[in-house]
Amino acid sequence: MAAVADTTTVRRVRRRPSFGRAVAWAVMAAVVLITLLPFYWILRTALSSNTALAAHPGDLLPVDPTTGGFERALGLQSAEEAIAQGGSGGGLKFWRYLLNSVIVSTLITVCQIFFSAMAAYAFARLRWRGREKVFGLFLAGLMVPAIFTLLPNFVLIKQLGLVDNLLGVALPTMFMTPFAVFFLRQFFMNVPREVEEAALLDGAGKIRIFFRVMLPMAATPILTLGLLTYITAWNDYFWPLMVSYSDSSRVLTVALAIFRAQTPQTGYDWSGLMAATLIAALPMLVLFGCFARRIVSSISFTGVK
């Protein structure tokens, strides 16, 4: 009896996993395919011509390869030329929007993280009355959904005269997010007391300690948080849509949605639209290319609180 049971388990251990693993790998491969296919399809469509797309919708390679889509997206073609190729005649002032996106995302990321780090240091390492209460208030802010503050924030930005201004796009998230403060506080709390004490003995003040000891020590979590903040700021659509009306403050996400809405009479300019999509997504893909490992592990890090 026991011997029989033993052999079956042995067989199971040897056989089942290999079959199961094959299925598991197949599922994983399917996941990877579904994840990456749209990226390939963007590229394939962007390099095709609209007329050929209509005739060969299912071809796996670019059909009638052309860079016309990119030229239309960047506004390099004349209106007549663009319309003849299935475009709307409206282009993206790509460099302008790219610059706007870079300014807004950089401003938000740098300021938010610097100010949040200062606050986090005060919450973690300075002693003052009411510290826990104020921190509790900040934490409660985590629960206020973004949608709720958007309308009143719009009214405020309008009263400040910052509508259609890059500063108005950046301002609401420039000073802090409860998450950033919480995240960095966690790090500062775990810095050993001895580090601070050693610096105090050397005659450094607390301000000096913050800038010369704490901030450099926090380089890794700051970079981590910075990347996530940059991605979020770059991809934001709702708030910039509310506050920007013209090219002077329009960011890439909003510009792309407008480009999509400019449908020519013949139907969508798919190749131009996919070229624009690729151009808009490219900076984040490059950023990811440079920091993939850090971003991936940082999400695991933020997940376990």
Binding site: T9, S116, F238, A280
Partner: protein
């Protein structure tokens, strides 16, 4: 440099309040040993406090106030009591959009949680390849706008690759985003595509906290992967799963971007999710008071979910001991 130049002028309106806080704080601190810290702390949290008060606390209070007014941005807000709420309760489109939002959330969260869990477990049990984790995350780098446009193209009735495949196997083409029944599930799945990798990585982090010895011990006892999943992975992951679940529910209640670029609320209000309806009321019809009232309703729903989150996580923790 921008930091230094931008903060002093904007700090002015709150200068009084901050100063008063510092004074009372230091007065109390004087009786304690660390007198310097109070003043320094006030300086250190001042910018963050300014942002918190101006763009989080104040708008929250103001939003509640505006919900009791008629306000079109051009003339001063006029107090109308509960009018906006009465109107909301009698507004069939509001209820319809709430229903559509719930439908979206249920599909989005159901599919996303199950897929993310499956991916996370595969990443843990099959391979811990960082490359695979990176690949899974790539859609998260796209904005919702980009994701929406790409899938709009891939699911196009006539030219989309999705419908080409469907037609290729001999089935009828599906107008994914133009059909009342299909539109919400389609938008929900587009957002699953974009967010599932992120969720999977959060769960993966939770899985990595489970000691590998447990799996090895179970394997020695002859447990199958399936059994180990239900007996080890699920019970130990439950608290993390609960937190991730509620976080994503709150996030997905606020769906807007994808709807805005794919269907714009149509066809026939079939994808008019609450946030899109609120946006339309505010910026399409300039009914800021009514839009605020609906935002309050959404806030109430989300707060209820947050309370549930605390219950669940506490239950999860006590469960583990």
């Amino acid at each position: 440099m921008t930091i230094a130049s931008s903060s002093p002028p904007s700090r002015l309106p709150l200068g009084g309040a901050e100063g008063a806080g510092t004074k009372s704080r230091t007065r109390r601190a004087r009786s304690r040993e660390n007198e310097g810290d109070g003043r320094l702390a006030a300086v250190f949290i001042a910018p963050a406090m300014l942002g918190f008060l101006a763009f989080l606390l104040w708008p929250t209070l103001r939003g509640i106030y505006l919900s009791f007014t008629r306000f079109n941005l051009l003339t001063p807000a006029e107090w109308v009591g509960l009018d906006n709420y009465v109107r909301m309760v009698h507004d069939p489109i509001f209820w319809e959009s709430l229903g559509v939002t719930v439908e979206y959330v249920v599909i989005n969260i159901g599919v996303q949680t199950v897929s993310a869990l499956a991916i996370a477990v595969l990443l843990q049990r099959l391979t811990q390849s960082a490359v695979l984790r990176g690949i899974v995350l790539t859609p998260y780098l796209m904005s919702n706008v980009v994701a929406g446009i790409v899938w709009l193209w891939m699911l196009d009735t006539q030219l989309g690759i999705g419908n080409e495949i469907i037609a290729g196997i001999g089935a009828d083409r599906i107008p994914f985003l133009a059909d009342e029944t299909w539109a919400i599930p389609t938008i929900a799945l587009i957002n699953v595509w974009r967010h599932v990798g992120y969720t999977a990585l959060l769960l993966f982090a939770g899985l990595m906290a489970i000691p590998n010895d447990m799996y090895e011990a179970a394997k020695v006892d002859g447990a199958s992967e399936w059994r180990m999943f239900w007996r080890i992975t699920m019970p130990l992951l439950r608290p993390v799963l609960a937190v991730v679940l509620i976080m994503t529910v709150i996030g997905s209640f606020q769906v807007f971007d994808t709807v805005a670029v794919t269907t714009a609320g149509g066809p026939a209000n079939a994808t008019n999710v609450l946030q899109y309806y609120i946006y339309g009321a505010a910026f399409g019809r300039f009914q800021f008071g009514y839009a605020s009232a609906m935002s309050v309703a959404l806030l109430v729903v989300l707060s209820a979910i947050t309370v549930l989150q605390y219950r669940l996580t506490r239950a999860g923790q006590s469960d583990l001991g």
